[in-house]
């Protein structure tokens, strides 16, 4: 039976009110009134652009590290980590770098790859903890780009506890993601082919920018045709710095910026994604992933193990990863679970990787007091960029995570969903996020992208080849800010980009 997108339900049953979301993944020491007041003061919008704000040179608070002058600038542990915790960081890094091997194998704690996978290890896509990139063209491989799949959901897929939840389900044969690599004996699911079409954008000052619009095709389908209602979402691996700090921003502070009905009439709505916590079996604020589909760093890590490498964890228990019941050989193949660790990665291993990911440190800013940078900062604020790219937050005071506890951080994201217009849309909903909505990505570290990753590709699928192109792709709620950038004096535009590069 054909399932049309019209059958996606948005039923309002006993839905959780947004305010009831909490941060039960953290051991929080409640804020005092005095602290709240101090925080309001220190995170207030700047009014004086003649000099840097106090503390802004350290975007990760006390966890901020000095800027290495090589490609390993995003591979450093939080500066405030003890030597003993540093060893936990290094063990987490070992799990992150570990090349998984096929099962059965003597190395019981290292087997269970696939059988279908996108990479043999986390590092495969998250090279140097930096950003992935789009394939250069039809013949390039898509190593750090994955294509997520879904079809419209049915009543059984609805989560009634979440208001405005957009039910989807995995593609019946291929699951929730295309895995383009495989163990011997299993067909790969598909080959991802990208082609680009160029378009010119006229800018003030007689300048022109050229954008490239990607189109994606799946070739050599290994398991028959895709479902006719399939929805694709191409995504490159995002950078990984400061994730533990983003995990520790109070949900209430994020929700305080949400304005789903644009009550203040600024043209910016900002909606929270609310997703199902596998760990706590309840709705939680979505924070991670390009549409904020995962509530915690731990769940995001476990989901990546499952979908990208085919590795099971206590949160996602299937040894066969993303294989569906239509992929019988994959289901029946040997897997790495069922030994003393029960899952391919056990609680200990998942905690190590989560700890590592939480402590990849944000490097210090450069040139905070340079006049052009300061001018660019002013342009950033007057243009409205800061409406979504919220400069700063203060993290929760935490009992067990001193490195993330009560830090003034400068991520330049509100952690909320925004409609970015039809040009950027993937048209694949995720949780409450519509096909046109994306979570504001943090901008910290963005100026080190070339040094770390050898390229400057941005946005969810890496289509933008520099910061200006990324701005020019902004539509929807960001259309007016984008138009302002197109028409502003070239010197202001240059200053704006210089400021963003200093982050």
């Amino acid at each position: 039976m054909r399932t049309s997108s019209a059958t996606v339900f948005c039923l309002l049953f006993a839905s959780t009110s947004v305010q009831a979301l909490d941060d039960r993944h953290l051991n929080v020491v409640p804020r005092t009134d005095a602290e709240t007041k101090r925080i309001q003061g220190v995170t207030a919008a700047p009014t004086d652009f003649s000099q840097p704000q106090k503390f802004e040179s350290r975007p990760g608070g006390a966890a901020t590290v000095p800027v290495r002058n090589d490609a390993f600038a995003f591979k450093q542990p939080s500066a405030n980590l003890s030597k003993e915790d540093g060893l936990i960081f290094r063990m987490g890094e070992a799990m992150f770098d570990k090349l998984w091997v096929s099962s059965p194998s003597s190395t019981l704690a290292s087997d269970g790859l696939g059988p279908l996978y996108n990479a043999r290890n986390c590092l495969g896509c998250h090279q140097k903890s930096g950003r992935g990139h789009a394939p250069e063209g039809p013949d390039d491989d898509a190593l750090s780009l994955a294509i997520k799949l879904a079809i419209p959901g049915q009543q059984a897929d609805q989560i009634y506890e979440i208001e405005d939840f957009l039910a989807t389900r995995p593609e019946p044969t291929y699951g929730s993601q295309i895995q383009d690599f495989n163990l011997p004996g299993h067909p790969a699911e598909a080959r991802i082919e990208v082609t680009f079409e160029e378009l010119d954008i006229a800018l003030s000052g007689g300048k022109t920018a050229t954008l490239r619009r990607p189109s994606y095709a799946l070739k050599d389908l290994g398991y028959g045709p895709l479902h006719h209602d399939v929805m694709f979402s191409p995504r490159v691996a995002p950078q990984m710095i400061g994730l533990g700090l983003l995990d520790a921003i109070p949900a209430d502070d994020i929700l305080a910026n949400a304005d789903p009905d644009d009550a203040n009439g600024d043209g910016i709505s900002g909606r929270a994604n609310i997703t199902w916590s596998v760990e706590y079996q309840r709705p939680m604020l979505g924070r991670f992933g390009l549409k904020a589909g995962a509530p915690t760093l731990r769940q995001q890590s476990a989901a990546a193990f499952a979908a990208d490498i085919g590795i099971s964890t206590p949160l996602f228990e299937a040894g066969h990863g993303d294989c569906t019941k239509e992929q019988v050989e994959c289901i029946d193949a040997p897997h790495g679970d069922g030994d003393v660790r029960v899952f391919e990665v056990d609680e200990i291993g998942l905690d190590l990787v989560t700890f590592y990911s939480a402590n990849l440190a944000v490097p210090a800013r450069r040139d905070v007091d340079d006049p052009e940078v300061l001018r660019g900062k002013e342009v950033f604020h007057t243009t409205g960029c800061a409406s979504c790219h919220t400069p700063s937050f203060v993290t929760h005071r935490l009992e067990e995570q001193p490195t993330q506890s009560f830090q003034l951080i400068w991520p330049y994201t509100d952690m909320l969903l925004h409609d970015m217009g039809p040009d950027l849309a993937d048209n694949r909903p995720e949780g409450r996020a519509t096909g046109q909505e994306w979570r504001t990505p943090p901008l910290w570290g963005i100026g080190l992208t070339r040094q770390v990753s050898g390229h400057t590709q941005f946005l969810h699928d890496g289509r933008a080849r520099n910061i200006l192109e990324a701005i020019l792709w902004h539509g929807g709620e960001a259309q007016s800010a984008r138009d302002t950038v197109v028409s502003m004096p070239p010197a202001d535009r240059a200053a704006l980009i210089r400021f963003i590069e200093s982050l």
Binding site: S105, A119, R120, G336
Partner: protein, 419 residues
């Protein structure tokens, strides 16, 4: 004029110059000389292994297999001492995965016991390996494996898009010589019968000729890879030129190598992680049960780089000005402290080696709840972590701590952070 005569593989000259203050360039040159000696020794012993493998293939017998195993064990002694060169020297780190990658995708190479973590009944997919199949598909690409050559092994994982050489190097050879270690947490190594290489009807587990071809290809590849790295450290080798070109950067490479191997790699990944995960084979040389030596010689490599002296496989000594000399000049107490800590670590790693050689093997030490084993392993971990702190102090004492960072803005000022 240099005060050193460069080391050749045959003759070694140790020229210590107590009358002169240690000179940074000489320290770096001696470091490169020791690298050259270690990689040449690795190459020499790999060639001995190659001869033993060829003899095994030519005339398979229990004795020939035993000889090849012995040659493999001997080849690990100099090689493990080179690992300290891996971190800090991009030329080594980029290459290392080809020869020493771990873990190994053994199921891709040869038969493995299906009961080992897989479903209990025989699974046809478990037999899809290079030894048993002249042709198979990986990721949409058909691999022609009719002839097993070094080139085939090198290309095997390019289908994955990244260099993931999990089917070549020392451990691939080790797996082919020993087979899987089926003893779990009990004492004992892998027990591959020599008849896995036998001709005709005597052949066990099928495809003995292809298994032999894989072993030969992997060994030949190891020899050529080691030839490459030995040349990198020769008089006009690139790796030597890189560390010599900027002596401060060269010193950073030396100390980074010592610190990174001590802390994250050996203490963390290889020792404490294995203990946490309780995997008897989450050890470095699992098929041969040689992990105690792997750890011991890694530790020795760190110590001998600091002291600037290395005993070669022919018994001769390479020595010269060392980082130890430089540190002693600026802070004699720190040098004494670091030397003492390196010795403490070697004592702890020696205990693990002694226990393992007398019957309490490394996989037994990793068993959950084995207090004696845990204490032995943690002794090594603690020593390595402790020496790392002094290595970092040495980096500071030599004024090398800001080299890797841009800008001069110190992040030490506590007032600069909102609290």
């Amino acid at each position: 004029m240099t005060r050193h005569i460069l080391i050749t593989s045959a003759a070694v000259l140790a020229l210590t110059a107590p009358a002169f203050a240690a000179n940074k360039a000489d320290v770096v040159a001696n470091y490169a000389n020791i690298a050259a000696a270690k990689y040449e020794d690795s190459l020499t012993t790999a060639k001995t292994l190659q001869a033993a493998v060829n003899a095994l293939i030519e005339n398979p017998s229990a004795e020939a297999l035993h000889n090849a195993q012995g040659a493999w064990l001997a080849s690990r002694v100099p090689y493990q001492q080179t690992e300290v060169y891996r971190f800090g020297n991009a030329a080594v780190d980029d290459w290392e995965g080809k020869v020493n990658a771990w873990p190994l995708d053994e199921g891709l190479i040869d038969y493995v016991d299906a009961a080992y973590g897989g479903p209990s009944d025989e699974n046809p997919l478990a037999a899809l390996n290079v030894v048993a199949n002249a042709s198979f598909d990986i990721s949409g690409e058909t691999i022609d494996a009719a002839e097993i050559t070094p080139a085939l092994l090198e290309s095997l994982h390019e289908a994955d898009g990244v260099e993931a050489n999990v089917a070549t190097g020392y451990h691939a050879i080790e797996f082919l010589l020993w087979g899987q270690d089926m003893n779990g947490h009990n004492h004992g190594a892998g027990d591959r019968p020599w008849t896995d290489f036998a001709a005709g009807d005597a052949c066990t587990s099928d495809n003995c000729d292809r298994r032999a071809a894989y072993l030969k290809a992997a060994t030949d590849l190891l020899v050529s890879d080691l030839e490459f790295m030995a040349a990198q450290w020769s008089v006009d080798g690139e790796a030597r030129a890189t560390v010599s070109g900027d002596t401060d950067a060269g010193l950073v490479a030396i100390l980074t190598g010592m610190g990174s191997l001590s802390y994250g790699e050996q203490a963390g990944e290889r020792m404490r992680l294995g203990l946490l995960l309780n995997d008897p084979e989450e050890e470095h040389d699992c098929f041969s049960d040689n992990t105690h030596n792997s750890h011991y010689y890694d530790g020795l490599g760190i110590q001998n780089v600091y002291l600037g002296e290395y005993v070669r496989v022919d018994g001769s000594l390479v020595s010269g000005p060392s980082v130890s000399d430089l540190v002693a000049e600026v802070n004699a107490d720190l040098d004494a402290e670091l030397q003492a800590k390196l010795s403490t670590t070697m004592m702890s790693l020696g205990r693990i080696k002694t226990a393992a050689e007398s019957g309490f093997s490394y996989d037994q030490m990793l068993e959950r709840g084995n207090a004696a084993g845990e204490a032995l392993v943690m002794g090594g971990v603690d020593g390595l972590v402790d020496q790392t702190k002094s290595i970092e102090a040495a980096v500071k004492a030599l004024g090398l701590d800001q080299l890797a960072f841009e800008g001069s803005d110190s992040l030490d000022n506590p007032d600069a952070v909102f609290q």
